[in-house]
């Protein structure tokens, strides 16, 4: 049971405020929440806060705070889930979720909230059911602009790839204006994997964790059935074995409740009738046992001259992807000892960039081809950090505050688990319009790729 729901901008301005039960005081609640949030001591969690007998539970989504208050001891999982579902729903109806779209579509948002929650109780969150009740038309900002291309989002957005849908294609409302007949029948299917890796200083692999999702955004008319064929060697759990090769193994899989699994056992085919809007079809995890090699290895050499306070770091980065694939937007972040002043660098190719900032070294590589080897030599002065002279002039032990290095990157058209979508078939043919557009995309990106030095 929710007493109030409100959306705050990142600066704390209330965008949406709805009181469902009229049982608690005034409209200053959002302000109270923001004050509490800002005044929170560092280590404390902001997820759940309380004031008197009111609990504030919030999520942050695209820079906005979505907050629910309640006076009951509710289930945190359900409530957090509801908030993220609301975020998706608002995104579906307004095109995308941001301060601008919300404030342009206030009437629509209130209308949605009226339908989703009554007296603080969830009625329904299915896009399908809600469509019947929503009358307000979404206000879409600009149809397309080059500026949008710079942001790399999900669903058909890659800056440096040809032949992709522009990123704005997916960020349009599911309920686009009824008069607009030119509405495209499109469906976007993304296989997205998040990779978290920890590599010890001696190069041994400490932890590999892959969180994968198959996400669907559909603009197809209702009732169209869809069949998604996954790689046939896909197997779940340690014991199962399929095909003759090593197989594509994941530890655990969970499906959305609307997915029909009749053909999954035999042919690895998922059948579903997707509602319009966004949907997570399948989630899977895989840890420790990765069939393909890791995308990157880092070979660092550190020379530390205590006497003069000179620090020399030689980084070699090897990309172990297949030669045809490439990685984009690679950024290496290496915390440095305090008081580093100057940096001189020798980089292996001109499009790279390295700079100091916030006590760390940032090395940016716009793209790296599979199988290539890149290197960077960095020299720094650390005047404040002079150890006792009793040690030798140059020791192998790195100074305090150096490392661990963390990499962030994107791997388009590559999944670390090896899972691929074989085909996407639609049983429905819309009359009049051309064949629906299908966009299938595979993407891996780093969640935490840490290499100790």
């Amino acid at each position: 049971m929710i007493s109030q729901f409100f959306i705050l901008s990142s600066k704390g301005d209330p965008l949406i405020y709805k009181d469902f039960r009229g049982d608690c005081g005034g409209r200053d609640i959002p302000e109270l929440f923001y004050r509490k949030l800002m005044g929170l001591p560092g280590g404390e969690s902001p997820v759940v806060m309380h004031h008197d007998d009111r609990h504030f539970i919030h999520i942050r989504h695209s820079g906005l705070y979505l907050v629910a208050t309640t006076s009951e001891n509710v289930s945190p999982f359900s409530l957090l889930e509801l908030l993220s579902r609301l975020a998706t729903l608002l995104g579906d109806y307004c095109g995308s979720l941001s301060e601008g779209t919300i404030s342009r579509n206030v009437a629509l948002v209130y209308e949605l909230l009226d339908e989703v929650l009554d007296y603080g109780y969830v009625q329904t969150t299915s896009t399908e059911m809600l469509r019947n009740f929503i009358q307000t038309e979404p206000v879409v900002s600009k149809p397309f602009s080059l500026f949008d291309l710079s942001s790399v989002g999900l669903f058909g957005a890659e800056t440096q790839q040809s032949k992709v849908a522009p990123s704005s294609a997916a960020s349009r409302p599911v309920l686009s204006s009824r008069s607009d007949q030119s509405q495209k029948n499109e469906v976007f299917l993304d296989v997205v994997e998040r990779l978290s890796v920890l590599i010890a200083s001696n190069g041994s692999l400490l932890k590999v964790d892959v969180q994968g999702e198959i996400r669907l955004k559909s603009f197809l008319p209702n009732g169209s059935e869809m069949r998604i064929g996954l790689t046939e060697e896909f197997c779940v759990g340690k014991s199962e074995l399929r095909g003759y090769g090593p197989g594509i193994r994941v530890d655990e899989v969970s499906f959305h409740s609307s997915v029909n699994l009749d053909e999954f056992e035999s042919h690895r085919i998922l059948r579903l009738q997707p509602p319009q809007g966004e949907l997570t079809v399948m989630r899977y995890q895989l840890s420790d046992d990765l069939s393909s090699p890791l995308p990157f290895r880092l070979f660092p050499t550190v020379q530390w001259d205590r006497g003069s306070g000179r620090l020399q770091i030689y980084l070699k980065l090897r990309c172990d992807l297949p030669p045809k694939s490439q990685a984009l937007n690679i950024r290496l972040h290496l915390p440095l000892p305090r008081g580093v002043v100057s940096l001189s660098q020798e980089l292996s190719s001109p499009d790279q960039k390295a700079e100091l900032g916030e006590g760390a070294l940032r090395w940016d590589l716009p793209r790296v081809q599979g199988g290539s080897l890149l290197s960077g030599l960095f020299q720094m002065d650390v005047p404040g950090l002079q150890g006792p002279a009793s040690h030798g002039s140059s020791t192998s032990a790195p100074p305090l505050g150096l490392g661990p290095a963390s990499l962030s990157f994107e791997l388009p058209r590559h999944t670390c688990s090896g899972l691929q979508v074989r085909f996407l078939r639609l049983s429905f043919r819309p009359c009049g319009n051309a064949n629906p557009h299908k966009w299938v995309r595979h993407l891996s990106h780093s969640d935490a790729y840490v290499i100790r030095i």
Partner: protein, 664 residues
């Protein structure tokens, strides 16, 4: 809110509600019920449409009507439960539409709150269980929560239910999985092996939530992992890598993960976990680094040697924020695990250069005092502190220094005698802090009595391993926290939660405590926070205003015109009036607003009414002339009773004073 002259609006609404066709348009029906229901004065017209709505053909109308019953009941306040309505709602539990069913449960729960909520008997429980698959995830989570209060009659029935529930443990929604887990844990109270089994099965979903993209979900899951670890320490040990922190995570998640790592450590993973924690100790964030060091200290109670070695290495980094925490950890560790004293004493020399803060100095001085006989340079380190005692700002450090030097004097008198004398002289003659001076005098007189007495007082035990056993958290039975699972309790932490619920209780009883007079006289003492507090004093013997007084505007007008003004007074007021705020505040003390001008109207007027338990009516007019910056209050009484009038007026004055204070 009815404004002055909104009679037309009310009439319009009445007409709309009487119209039998209103239900044909379900959206309009919903909107009318949702909005009108908060408006006092039109409730009587709502009742019939709501009851009709319960039997409507459209499921959408039934959903709205079922919740409408709860709204209606809550608006009536303490009116008694309508038995026929409750029966009707119970029968609607068999409705075709799943959302109607769930709404019925919610509505009954609210209507029957006084009697402990909706009753789940065997037929209802089994009916709900069979309908579960038809519900969406929100409905499932909620029904699982309602089923918690059902007690199966036999063991057979219990296991039947558990079998039915099994599929929900595999749901893709974490809310449903956790709800089902809780139900399992509660139902299988007497079968520990079933509970353990369920906790094994929920491991996967919990770990998935822990590495979820949503930070908030991740946090909630981590809190529940800790809860489970309290009972089953080995439960997540093989998954320790899932709890390694990543660079980009927010602080509160990192701290939770470190706590979890600390609790799941065992013989197999201790090496890797310590290695990981050691990495965190050099984090750029000092807070996080210190938390990691304390975590190592926690693990050191079991794996002393490895931890002390790591901590000693950390001292070599010569970083202030690290050294001070390491020394504090050493102090606690030596007390609990005397076997590591030797190693700690060897590590200590040299670290005094890197300690600047109060806590760290105290810890170091204590260690030097108690174990000084094993640290060769202890007297010289303390001598430095004695030299600088004049510039020391913290009295606690000086006290610690006195005690430490006294102890060290007992074991190494020759090296300490001179500086002890100097320190005592300083403390007694020059120190300004009375506590320090007293302590100095006390030691001085103790020394005068003789060395044997000093030994008796100061030679306390140097360690107490039994404390470690006490502190060591014994495995708590699952049943001790099963009822807290999937609630806010683990998320807040048990201690914090106890504090919150205690505050809430105090809030409920608190307002009875303050004497009535203080409220009557001083309005501005009542701050916004305890606005509610105003209500209860007015309840005490003097004046009791009836809540939910229903008075029509016509009746008010007639009575107002027929009565004389009993009391008129002018209260200070700055600026404009916010009618909503004022109305809400008055509602709290059971004064009803009959009518009010719009915000900003000039002159601004409001008519209020209240009635006490003897039936005496208080009618009030508020008149605000903005140019005078004051509010004229006129009160009329249906019975001439002066002391009632005064207590009523003081309540009114308090409210107006409070609202005025908030404004200004």
């Amino acid at each position: 809110m009815p404004y002055l002259g909104s009679e037309d609006v009310v009439k319009e609404l009445k007409k709309a509600l009487c119209n039998p066709h209103v239900q044909a348009d379900r959206l309009r029906y919903r909107n009318v019920i949702q909005r009108v229901i908060r408006m006092p004065g039109v409730q009587e017209y709502i009742q019939q449409p709501v009851l009709n709505g319960l039997r409507d053909k459209a499921s959408y109308v039934r959903r709205v009507a079922v919740l409408g019953c709860a709204k209606m009941h809550n608006l009536h306040g303490d009116s008694e439960v309508d038995g026929a309505l409750v029966n009707e709602l119970y029968s609607l539990l068999r409705d075709q539409d799943p959302i109607v069913v769930v709404n019925c449960l919610r509505s009954l729960e609210e209507i029957l709150k006084q009697e402990g909520g909706v009753v789940i008997n065997k037929p209802i429980a089994h009916h709900l269980l069979n309908r579960m698959s038809k519900l969406d995830q929100w409905g499932q989570a909620e029904v699982l929560n309602f089923l918690l209060r059902y007690q199966p009659r036999s063991e057979e029935e219990l296991f039947d239910i558990l079998n039915l529930l099994d599929s929900f443990l595999k749901s893709s929604s974490p809310g449903v999985v956790m709800g089902a887990t809780k139900l399992f844990l509660i139902l299988a109270k007497k079968f520990p092996h079933v509970q353990t089994d369920v906790l094994v099965r929920v491991k996967g979903p919990l770990l998935a939530a822990c590495s979820s993209e949503s930070r908030e979900l991740c946090f909630a899951a981590l809190c529940h992992v800790r809860q489970i670890l309290h009972s089953l320490p080995g439960h997540f040990s093989s998954h320790y890598k899932k709890f390694f922190c990543s660079y980009s995570e927010p602080h509160y998640i990192k701290l939770q993960k470190v706590e979890v790592l600390c609790e799941l450590v065992n013989d197999e993973n201790v090496q890797q976990v310590l290695e990981e924690l050691r990495g965190y100790c050099m984090d750029v964030s000092a807070d996080f680094a210190q938390a990691a060091i304390f975590a190592i200290g926690g693990i050191a109670k079991t794996y002393t040697d490895q931890c002390v070695q790591i901590l000693t290495e950390l001292l070599g980094l010569r970083q202030e924020h690290i050294t001070t925490v390491v020394v504090q950890t050493f102090r606690d560790l030596v007390w609990l695990c005397p076997q590591c004293t030797e190693a700690v004493c060897q590590a200590l020399p040299g670290c005094e250069e890197n300690i600047q803060d109060n806590e760290g100095k105290q810890a170091l001085i204590w260690l030097l005092g108690v174990h000084g006989e094993r640290i060769p340079n202890a007297p010289y380190v303390l001598e430095d502190f004695v030299e600088n005692v004049k510039s020391e700002t913290f009295p606690a450090v000086k006290m610690e220094l006195l005690a430490a030097l006294m102890r060290l004097f007992l074991s190494r008198p020759a090296e300490c005698q001179d500086m002890l004398g100097r320190l005592l002289y300083y403390c007694i003659e020059e120190e300004k802090d009375m506590a320090v001076r007293d302590r100095g005098l006390f030691y001085y007189r103790l020394l005068l009595v003789g060395i044997d007495e000093v030994k008796k007082v100061l030679c306390s035990p140097k360690s107490d391993p039994s404390l470690g056993l006490l502190e060591d958290q014994t495995e708590r039975p699952v049943n001790s926290w099963a009822s807290d699972f999937n609630t806010l309790v683990p998320v807040y932490g048990k201690a914090h939660w106890a504090l919150i619920s205690k505050c809430q209780k105090a809030e409920h009883h608190g307002p009875l405590l303050p004497p009535k007079t203080s409220f009557a006289t001083s309005g501005h003492l009542v701050s916004e926070e305890n606005k509610e507090g105003v209500q209860e004093p007015s309840d005490s013997e003097a004046l009791m205003l009836v809540p939910n007084l229903q008075l029509t505007a016509e009746y008010f007008e007639k009575t107002w015109l027929s009565l004389e003004v009993a009391h008129q007074q002018v209260l200070p007021w700055q600026g404009e009036v916010h009618p909503d705020t004022l109305q809400m505040a008055l509602q709290v003390v059971n004064i009803q607003t009959i009518a009010m001008s719009r915000a900003g109207a000039q002159p601004w007027k409001a008519y209020l009414s209240a009635q006490d338990e003897t039936g005496c009516l208080f009618l009030t007019e508020l008149l605000l002339e903005p140019e005078n910056s004051e509010m004229q209050v006129s009160v009329k009484l249906s019975e001439a009773r002066t002391e009632r009038l005064h207590s009523f007026f003081s309540v009114l004055e308090t409210v107006i004073g409070t609202i005025g204070d908030i404004k200004s």
